[in-house]
Amino acid sequence: MGASDFRASLADVRSMETCFHGRHIQPQIYAGLNSPDGWHLKDYEARDGYKALRKILQEGLTPEQVIAEVKASGLRGRGGAGFPSGLKWSFMPRQFQGAKYLVCNSDEGEPGTFKDRDILRYNPHIVIEGMAIAAYAMGVQTGYNYIHGEIFDVYKRFEEALEEARAAGYLGDKILGSDFSFQLHAFHGYGAYICGEETALLESLEGKKGQPRFKPPFPASFGLYGKPTTINNTETFAAVPWIIRNGGQPYLEVGKPNNGGTKIFSVSGDVALPGNYEVPLGTPFAKLLELAGGMRDGRKLKMVIPGGSSMPVLPADIMMQTDMDYDSIVKAGSMLGSGAVIVMDETRCAVKSLLRLSYFYYEESCGQCTPCREGTGWLYRMVNRIEHGQGRPEDLDRLNQIAENIQGRTICALGDAAAMPVRAFLKHYWDEFAYHVEHKTCMVPAYV
């Protein structure tokens, strides 16, 4: 295909904003967003903004009551691990004298994920309010929001929102006349996927290379500057104000047991309308696909990576039977991860798709642990030679062996993230890999 005969087909069919389409279901975080200018404090207040923080401070809710409400909501971490947020908050030492820190992980760089960018640029105050509530619940006075380096305009926007919140008395000393003080700052990353890992992010915040720390100790006891620290994803904090306003139980009821609330899914790839879709957890994948306009150009669905590039790929027939929540996707053989849904149609080659994923992990390995540093390069080079017709029959088993020897043998999850896609692509599309090796070409006629 010539390089000039392509165009961004979407530019003329919809607005530039990936969350203003009005096809969310019971949205809580994107609710009421419909204009690029609607991010200001006054707009947020008109959407019930800062009512939850007011409720806590003016009705005198105790930190224990706030944590109990979050526990009752069934809110689970939206960044990838799905850990219960209320439980995480309860790990912070209550009696600790001295500084404690709260950190928001907005280092959104998992291929396929672009939900936090839309939260931060169109609804930044919801994150500020969520963090202030969390700080109150855990007795924290200082917080940082670590923002992905590549989205400079979003970082600037968040700084402006912080200024608005300070000026209105929602941040700073003695918030809304109470005894609660909380200082919140923005930190701008500068291009390292690994900093999405929470301990690498802390190292980066301390002004160092972002190389993950060995755990334990966990951040709740030894975090930023060695002090107790809690780190949550942007979307997790953004879910908190709704929970406090409406109650934990109603939040849980929006989703399903053990999977409370809504989730934002970033749908990318071969759909008619890529974008962010906020829906209750437990929504069928088929419904999500329909919201995203169905398959592009009427092609057939071949495979889906349901939780960001690190998660195992699943074939169409399994996905079409699966609901989009933490437990259902595990049962189907993958993970919900960050909620990035990468959709691929019948023209996509499994080998070529895996090749670009493997290159990503090779490029982004921080180099600290030998199995990951050496293994990701080995995986990439082998998939590369299979793709280019130089694969050997024994390569397929060897790919599995290497992946197996990376997984679980590194300090952080990047090793697992590099290994899981390889194993899943081989498991479901072995024939395509074998065909590449045997025929030195692709069995899928048109590819990526």
Binding site: M1, A3, S4, D5, F6, R7, A8, L10, A11, M16, T18, A99, G109, E110, P111, G112, T113, F114, D116, Y144, H148, G149, E150, I151, F152, D153, H185, F187, H188, Y190, G191, A192, Y193, S204, L205, E206, G207, K208, K209, G210, Y225, S266, V267, S268, G269, D270, P274, G275, S309, A340, I342, M344, R348, S353, R356, F360, E363, E364, C366, V448
Partner: protein, 172 residues
């Protein structure tokens, strides 16, 4: 830090003022937390992170130059060699590649007559293949000089962007 104040600073007063603003975000004994911001500010002004910039930032923040160097070489948005006036980083990760991200990169290669990691002879453009920019719904996407995200970059919009950048170029 030496007791004698460094008489010669590399950056402008306004750049140091911006760095001071970053330093103020952290506890007084944790100035190092501002090193990433300081390097970004310095890069904006100096055009790249030269060994002199690394020394200057280190002495300003009271850090060994090697610690600053480690940061500058670990994070991939710092340019430790001088790039062209406009650095174009095109995302070719899988979600973008599914929507012509890689083709946008190939188109720019042809148009500019350079490969990835090369700079045009007139010093105007450096082309980079980027990892995930976090904007997969807008593919094809590219980032100009670390700051400006350009969305839905089909061939026509790429042509317009290159024309616009050329006309805004400062004389060499």
């Amino acid at each position: 830090m030496s007791a004698v104040p460094n008489p010669k600073r590399l950056l402008s007063d306004s750049a140091y003022a911006l760095i001071d603003r970053e330093v103020a975000k952290y506890p007084s004994d944790q100035k190092q937390s501002a090193v990433m911001a300081a390097l970004a500010i310095a890069q904006d002004e100096a055009g790249w992170v030269s060994p002199e910039v690394i020394d200057d930032v280190g002495s300003y923040l009271g850090m060994p130059a090697i610690a600053v160097h480690e940061v500058a070489t670990f994070y991939n948005m710092y340019d430790t060699t001088r790039p062209g006036q406009f650095k174009l980083a095109v995302c070719t990760c899988l979600p973008c590649a599914l929507r012509d991200g890689a083709k946008a990169g190939e188109y720019l290669k042809q148009k500019l007559g350079i490969d990835y990691n090369e700079t045009t002879a007139d010093g105007l453009f450096t082309l980079k293949e980027s990892e995930c920019l976090g904007a997969c719904g807008d593919a094809p996407v590219l980032l100009v000089n670390n700051k400006r995200m350009c969305s839905f970059m089909g061939a026509e919009k790429l042509d317009a962007l290159i024309d616009e950048l050329k006309s805004s170029a400062r004389s060499q």
